[in-house]
């Protein structure tokens, strides 16, 4: 299949990979830091709920928070120690906001929790069992989006092909390349477990053609295992090929429908790092407590890839790379195109952290003042989602958010190609991000106002019904009084009845029982 025909996705950019220095180094490790900060929301979906208390001793791999919804993931302690704080802490997020985190003061022993039961005989287990294990181990997509893997594995039937994504196309990032070179067997095992979990028998691992060492390591592992269901495909290096829609197009020529997901057309994409996490969760019962992070840029002395415990402060990673150089000026999480700036190096590594860039002043493209859009159409040429960024920009800028849906704003993958192509230096992607969050906020407001309307109407109906009932009671009484007028005995009986009722009410309101 390595000679198989490949297609090309629309647009994209040839970018300088900038991975030579970290990719030349071997995988390093970061010592256990003094404090681990584990955000409860490291993934797409609902934040997790803590299941440990302050002061509790936890072991490495012990669950410390459980998902609060279907789309959520468990959080595990990434080393042994004591829970010292459950509070809002700054988290790595473009907003720079704080969010609930569990802080563990480590004891340096790195004592392991008993773990989940290893399931080496996974081929005898059902898809549901395997998915349950993946969920229990807190595995999320490690390519950056951090979508809960168990949810993705349950996404449909009639799958044809599992695609393992090792097409790291974004400049600076090479953590998947290192993983393939150092642990090709584990990647292969991950592929086998995922095939079993999905109940299919074809897997294709896509690697960019500028990573021959990773490819040959993987091919050697596949040959050694005699695995025929898994093939390695070398794809041309073009940004943003690592996007699952783009990769599917390159490999199969098919397009995932707008607002659809790959399983709709029979494909499922997983990052290779995720596959390894799945293999470990199933075969060894290990929860997701660490990941590989590329630490690079001119601002660090020795750029390299590191295996990092989740929750480790970024400062510890920089330390493990020989510290800052005097050229260090910007700190980014993620790659050169989609990464976002971080306020400081005390922020923790989370499940979705694939890369830390310590950039020098020269590495950051200075953003010149934006000029007016000249409608040259360069942005549409490079857009991998085949959108019209110039139109989207126009409507986002003028606040005509309703029109954005007509131009398929939500198909934008925020890759940033249009920003690079724009001769007027317009911050297009940021306009689209702004418009998306604005539209989400509007949907939330609408949902709230619908709820309020419903409750307001319900209350109005209730009050009207009460009034009507009171009116009817009054009428009934008036009629009864009229009937008994002139009849002395009946009147007396009625007065007695009223007196009795008043007496009963007074007994009820007895001051000895203030609870009423």
């Amino acid at each position: 299949m390595s000679e198989a025909r490949l297609w090309r996705f629309h647009g994209g950019l040839k970018l300088d990979a900038r991975t030579a220095r970290p990719a030349a180094e071997s995988l390093g490790v970061v010592p256990v830091p003094r404090h681990l900060v584990l955000p409860l929301s490291q993934h797409v979906g609902q934040p997790a709920e803590p299941v440990v208390a302050i002061g509790e001793r936890v072991l490495m791999g012990q669950p410390i928070a459980r998902p609060s919804g279907y789309i959520g993931a468990k959080v595990h302690a990434s080393s042994s120690g004591t829970v010292v704080e459950i509070a809002d802490r700054p988290v790595p997020h473009p907003s720079g906001l704080s969010a609930p985190c569990i802080v563990i003061e480590t004891d340096g022993l790195d004592e392991a929790w008993r773990g989940y039961e290893p399931l080496p005989a996974y081929s005898e287990l059902t898809s549901n069992d395997l998915r349950a294990r993946v969920r229990a181990a807190g595995v999320v997509g490690l390519g950056g989006a951090a979508f809960p893997t168990a949810v993705k594995l349950g996404a449909g039937s009639g799958l044809k092909l599992l695609i393992l994504n090792a097409a790291e196309c974004e400049p600076y990032i090479c953590c998947d390349e290192l993983l393939l070179r150092e642990r090709p067997e584990e990647v292969l095992t991950g592929a086998q477990v995922l095939l079993r979990a999905l109940g299919i028998d074809r897997c294709c691992i896509a690697i960019e053609e500028d990573k021959p060492r990773a490819k040959s390591a993987l091919e050697a592992a596949i040959a050694a295992a005699g695995e025929t269901r898994v093939t390695v495909v070398s794809v041309p290096a073009l940004y943003p090929e690592g996007g699952e829609r783009q990769l599917i197009k390159v490999l199969t020529g098919e397009e995932v429908p707008a607002r659809g997901v790959p399983p709709d057309i029979g494909y499922l994409c997983q990052n290779v790092g995720t596959a390894v996490a799945v293999a470990r969760a199933v075969l060894h019962g290990e929860p997701l407590v660490s990941r590989i992070v590329t630490v690079t840029g001119d601002g660090v002395a020795r750029p390299r890839n590191l295996e990092v415990r989740l929750g480790t402060p970024i400062a510890a990673l920089v330390e493990a790379c020989g510290g800052y150089t005097d050229r260090a000026s910007h700190l980014l999480m993620g790659g050169a195109m989609m990464g976002f700036p971080l306020a400081d190096d005390s922020l923790p590594v989370i499940k979705g952290t694939n890369c830390i860039v310590v950039a020098s002043r020269e590495e950051i493209r200075p953003r010149a003042a934006a000029m007016p859009c000249i409608r040259c159409g360069e942005c549409a040429e490079v857009c991998p989602a085949q959108l019209l960024p110039q139109q989207l920009y126009w409507h986002a800028r003028s606040g005509e958010l309703d029109r954005l849906d007509e131009y398929h704003l939500f198909d934008c993958i925020e890759c940033g190609c249009c920003d690079v192509a724009c001769p007027s230096q317009l911050p297009l992607t940021q306009y689209f991000r702004f418009a998306k969050t604005e539209l989400w906020a509007r949907d939330r407001d609408r949902a709230r106002s619908d709820l309020a309307r419903e409750r307001f109407e319900a209350r109005r109906e209730r009050i009207e019904a009460e009034q009507e009932a009171r009116r009817l009671r009054l009428e009934e009484k008036t009629r009864a009084a009229e009937r008994t007028r002139g009849d002395e005995g009946a009147r007396k009986a009625m007065i007695d009845e009223v007196l009795e009722r008043v007496q009963a009410r007074q007994d009820e309101n007895d001051p000895d029982e203030p609870g009423r």
């Binding site: 988290v91 702004f434 106002s449």
Partner: protein, 185 residues
């Protein structure tokens, strides 16, 4: 001549019947214009427009008794949407009805609450839970921030609090505004 009269009369009778049938068969319940106006209003039910809720205000707008610029919680956006719907010119918010404020929710200082139920009666969306002589509490997710519960409270234990921005509700700034904010810094 006679034929013409018969034909015209016949046609008139036919159309009359058709219209009469349509009026009965396709009768619309309620007023669709009111519904459409109501759907644009924020449903805060605060009464700052001087009507007893959003729906009554929508009815008043449709009936021509009220202007479209009397909804402070909706602000500029609502006025613009109403102007679009009714094909009128947008105008600035009527300062008599109030000013645009960030969205808030009511919070009861529970130890101070004496359980008088006055706020429960004031709440237009039944978002306050409690009983006589029992502590009350606000169901935050249902609160519209209308402030109607604040005034009736005899012990002033209700406070309007701005909702904190979370990772889920955070919005990317508009690029121009970002640059301006950076310049100000």
């Amino acid at each position: 001549m006679v034929t013409a009269v018969i034909v015209i009369a016949g046609l008139a009778a036919l159309f009359g019947l058709a219209l009469g049938f349509a009026a009965v068969r396709f009768r619309t319940e309620g007023d669709p214009v009111v519904d459409r106006i109501d759907s644009l209003l924020p449903q805060t039910q605060c009464g700052q427009c001087s009507f007893a809720g959003c729906r009554p205000y929508a009815e008043a707008i449709a009936g021509g008794q009220a202007d479209i610029n009397r909804c402070p919680p909706g602000g500029e956006a609502t006025i613009r949407a109403l102007a679009d719907l009714l094909e009128r010119d947008p105008k600035p918010l009527d300062p008599e009805s109030g000013v645009l404020k960030p969205r808030t929710v009511a919070v009861i200082d529970e130890p101070l609450c004496i359980g008088c139920t006055l706020c429960i009666q004031a709440c237009p969306v039944d978002a306050i839970l409690g009983a006589g002589k029992q502590m009350h509490t606000v169901i935050t997710s249902e609160c519209t921030g209308c402030e109607l519960c604040v005034a009736p409270c005899p012990v002033d234990c209700i406070e309007m609090v701005e909702e904190p921005v979370t990772l889920k509700t955070w919005k990317w700034p508009k690029p121009g505004e970002l640059a301006q904010a950076a310049e100000r810094r």
